[in-house]
Amino acid sequence: MREYIIRRLLLFIPSLLGVSLVIFVLMRLVPGDIAEILVYSAGSEQATVAKAQIAKIRQELGLDQPIAVQYVLWLKNILQGNFGHSYIEDRPVWNMLREWFPRTMELAILTLLLATLWAVPLGVVSAVKQDRWPDYLCRSLSISGLSVPIFFSGVLILFVLVRYFQWLPPLEYVSLWEDPSRNLQKIIWPALAQAFYISAPITRLTRSQLLEVIREDYVRTARSKGLIEQLVIYRHALKNALLPVVTFTGWWVGRLLGGIVVMEIIFQVPGMGMGLITSVNNRDYPTVQAIVFVMAGIFLLLNLIVDLLYAWLDPRIKYA
């Protein structure tokens, strides 16, 4: 067990290095030099000015150095918390990340909270009333959730709000600490749309796990000692059934990151996803590079946590 944890922790480092290498190579594949793109997209077309500027930016970015040196320099900078400088916004990328990150996390956490709050009870109902109408209802709800792509359900939510309630979420983003109610009025909709989507697999898993556990001997024992049904389900069965659900949900959070980008765009939440799209459109490559790296880092970290959680929650599992 301890060996497994250590090995799993050590695996994190080469994975992160691999990810950073892919991102670095990817950003070097951009046609033309980043410095050129920066200057030309900024609009200074006069050749002489541009040339001087390009040379200056190249030097600043270390683009006149060999590729390998550039990579090491970039890594070193990241380790020191220096994610580069955005020429479009003209400020350190780190400052922007610090602004965007909490908003994205708030959205992610709220999504997950709503999804589990809704999905787990639905799965329990589905399992307890197996093959009766509540079960069919729950199952068709969850299948439909999986089939509507989140950007469409997001648009539909907006449509219903506008058309039938003549109401739009506030345009400006206010942080949760400043004005919780205004913040929630904006954040709740993207969270709901995505929660509906990810709740589908959680419901299905909860149902199938609970159905399996209900047939175990210890549940029969609990019943035969005369415990009331609710106690049997909630105290005995559910605890064990939820184990894979927990890890599965953790694994889903990683995939949630992609959806969050879409949600932030539809509902105009100025988080990392919106930052990513804006900087891609502006060809702000230092920022793109930083955001992709941070998101991949979060993803890896989540996978690590899920794996460790699994080992901790279920001691029966042996890791060879």
């Binding site: 648009v155 898993l205 959806g259 879409v262 891609v280």
Partner: protein, 308 residues
């Protein structure tokens, strides 16, 4: 995976094993497919939806009343009259764009999954069969590619490659290949331990022959499952990329692209967003049902592995 496949095969009796050898993997696959509609009613419903989508995709030039790219009508015309689904913000016929959208979605889905899953499967079969340091190295490559949140990797790639349908296909291929390589490799590891493979090797068949005659027919079921399950996924990712303005160029009739900016004129012309959205959802729904059924039939062990 491999540990779960091996014992269940070993538990079978010898007679079953020999029968399985006579009925090659291909024949078994075929007979399973023939029993499909009766055993999987939901899958058959999915199949009908998929068939509809394929029909619209093939006959789009005949079925679409107008040129999907021509912006030559009044803007924001509501559904009805000449324009069954109305016109969009540039004066294009929404119905024509929805019909051609089926073709674009299917084209992107089939080519990217075809190339990605096939390449990945070959990669998985070869590395799984030979093992050794190349296998270990290639596993690290797979690890690295799978260490990215898929959509984020796709967005990064599209940012570098630029907007075009071909680049979407390329990006999707990069996303799908490692998944297929990983799954098929583990299946190959299981098949490799079978007696008939050992026998083939013992009689001196060259590796190429063993792979072609014994390994590939036996990973075929997994391959087909990966194929059917991932088409819906590829279509959704294409739509999402196009929606974000980083997939198909705006004049291409992509269902996702048609939803772009829909929020701006949602109040005025909801039909611009709703028709392509419904078409996309129905297609994905059909493909999901169909893919699930194919998976249940061909390889129940893959259930819940998140292969899609």
């Amino acid at each position: 995976m491999e540990t779960r496949i091996a014992p269940s095969r070993a538990q079978r009796t010898e007679r079953e094993d020999s029968r399985e050898e006579i009925r090659s993997g291909w024949e078994e696959t075929w007979s399973v497919l023939r029993r499909f509609p009766r055993r999987q009613p939901l899958g058959a419903i999915g199949g009908i939806l998929v068939a509809l989508m394929v029909f619209f995709a093939i006959f789009a030039p005949l079925l679409a009343p107008f040129d999907p790219k021509a912006a030559r009508f009044d803007t924001y015309l509501p559904p009805g009259g000449d324009f069954l689904f109305g016109t969009d913000h540039l004066g294009r016929d929404v119905l024509s764009r929805v019909i051609w959208g089926a073709r674009l979605s299917l084209y992107v889905g089939l080519t990217s999954v075809g190339v990605g899953i096939t390449l990945g499967s070959l990669w998985g079969v070869v590395t799984g069969f030979f093992g050794g340091p190349w296998d270990a190295a290639s596993q690290r490559v797979v690890d690295t590619l799978m260490a990215f949140p898929p959509i984020i990797l796709a967005l990064g790639l599209m940012a570098v490659l630029g907007q075009s349908v071909e680049n979407v296909i390329l990006t999707l291929t990069v996303l799908l290949t490692p998944t297929a390589a990983r799954t098929i490799r583990s299946t190959t590891l299981g098949v490799k331990e079978m007696m008939y493979v050992e026998a083939g090797r013992a009689t001196g068949s060259p590796s190429r022959r063993v792979i072609a005659r014994h390994i590939i027919p036996n990973v075929m079921a997994t391959y087909l499952v990966l194929f059917s399950v991932n088409i819906a996924y590829a279509i959704v990712v294409e739509a999402a990329l196009s929606f974000l303005g980083l997939g198909a160029p705006p004049d291409e009739p992509s269902w996702g692209g048609m939803l772009t900016g829909a929020t701006e004129y949602l109040e005025r012309a909801p039909w611009i967003a709703i028709f392509p959205g419904v078409a996309l959802s129905l297609s994905v729904f059909g493909l999901n049902l169909f893919g699930d059924a194919v998976r249940d039939l061909l390889d129940p062990k893959l259930r819940g592995t998140g292969a899609g």
